[in-house]
């Protein structure tokens, strides 16, 4: 049980990734697929930050009054996630712009009815 509690965050992150993956693979509505992509992103971000977390330490900011020897958590995954969040919003907004464009041409968001090409 303690083992389970230790990896709550991994379960949350993995679960989010798997739900997102399932939505991308199984859903037929384009907006739903893009929401799935957003879950894939968020899940990976939680996973990265959870990997960098060290129990009993503080955030990696040495504010005034803190000695420089204070134990802090790993700053690198946080920096990576900052980058990844911005990448994610770029991809998602481009995806939504494209789906608006597809809707203009086809009048539907259902991939089963969008068959100019093979899906």
């Amino acid at each position: 049980m303690q083992e389970m509690a230790n990896s709550f965050y991994y379960i949350g992150a993995g679960g989010l990734i798997l739900i997102g993956l399932y939505m991308v693979l199984a859903k037929t509505n384009l907006i739903k697929i893009i929401l799935g992509l957003s879950f894939l992103d968020t899940g990976t971000h939680v996973l990265l930050v959870a990997i960098g977390y060290v129990r009993g330490r503080t955030a990696p900011i040495f504010s005034e009054g803190m000695s420089e020897t204070t134990a802090v958590v790993d700053p690198v995954p946080q920096a990576l996630v900052l980058t990844a969040i911005v990448i994610g919003v770029g991809v998602l907004s481009l995806a939504l712009a494209l789906s608006i464009q597809v809707y203009r041409h086809y009048g539907t968001l259902d991939v089963r009815n969008i068959r100019g090409l093979k899906w």
């Binding site: 977390y53 504010s63 990576l80 900052l82 919003v89 481009l94 712009a97």
Partner: protein
């Protein structure tokens, strides 16, 4: 059928997670390279926020790539949703109520100010160019929601985008001319924990903040305007 295959693939990925993550203990000290940043970060970069020093100095190249990605997304959305003629003839859309209008008028300057505060203090407190830029962009979103017919000045926004991006690259190249390598921190570091410290970090964060703000506002604008 589609759902069955999806389930199968998801289960495979889940199993892979289980195996690998079982070997990466949660909450334990696994820090390797990052110890260098934690121990020497403040001294080497002058920024007390170690995440900032990693984002801007140690992994500054990623950050340059990242603002580039946002730039591509903004330009790409502009290209994808481009319309030849200016569709100005549509009937005027309904404005928001007077309360919202007054509220927006009051709030908008403060939102901008908050955004600027967040990215100027990026090396001291949590937050930085991206968060500040996002705050600025949400201010513009508010303007759009209140006055649907309002348009941002696209030429000015493009100019801000380009100039702040160029500033980032030029700061990087200046590092080379000072003989310290691309994106190196060539300015004096100053006293940690004061506003004018950390060399080029605040300057880069200001450039990032302006760039991210104008790009996100441009993306929102593109999606609002083009019917």
């Amino acid at each position: 059928m589609r759902k069955a295959i999806a389930f199968l693939l998801v289960a495979t990925v889940g199993a892979a997670f289980y195996v690998v993550l079982g070997h990466i203990p949660f909450g334990e000290d696994k820090i390797d390279v990052a110890n260098h940043y934690i121990q020497n970060g403040v001294r080497e970069t002058g920024a007390v926020n170690i995440v900032t020093s990693v984002v801007v100095t140690y992994r500054g190249f990623d950050t340059l790539g990242e603002v580039t990605i946002l730039f591509i997304a903004a330009v790409g959305i502009g290209a994808v949703l481009f319309t030849e003629k200016k569709a100005r003839d549509e009937e005027p859309k309904q404005k928001a109520s007077l309360i919202v209008q007054t509220g927006t008028n009051l709030l908008f300057p403060f939102i901008l100010l908050t955004g600027v505060y967040v990215f100027i203090h990026g090396h001291l407190t949590p937050g930085g160019g991206f968060q500040g830029g996002a705050v600025i962009a949400s201010g513009y979103l508010l303007l759009y929601l209140t006055w649907p017919d309002w348009r941002i000045n696209r030429r000015r926004f493009n100019a801000v985008e380009s100039l702040s991006g160029l500033a980032f690259v030029v700061l990087g190249v200046l590092g080379i001319t000072y003989g310290m390598g691309f994106l190196a921190n060539f300015l004096p570091l100053g006293t940690p924990n004061t506003l004018f410290s950390a060399g080029i970090i605040p300057i880069i964060y200001i450039a990032i903040g302006l760039k991210v703000g104008s790009e996100l506002a441009g993306i929102v604008g593109n999606l609002m305007e083009r019917e």
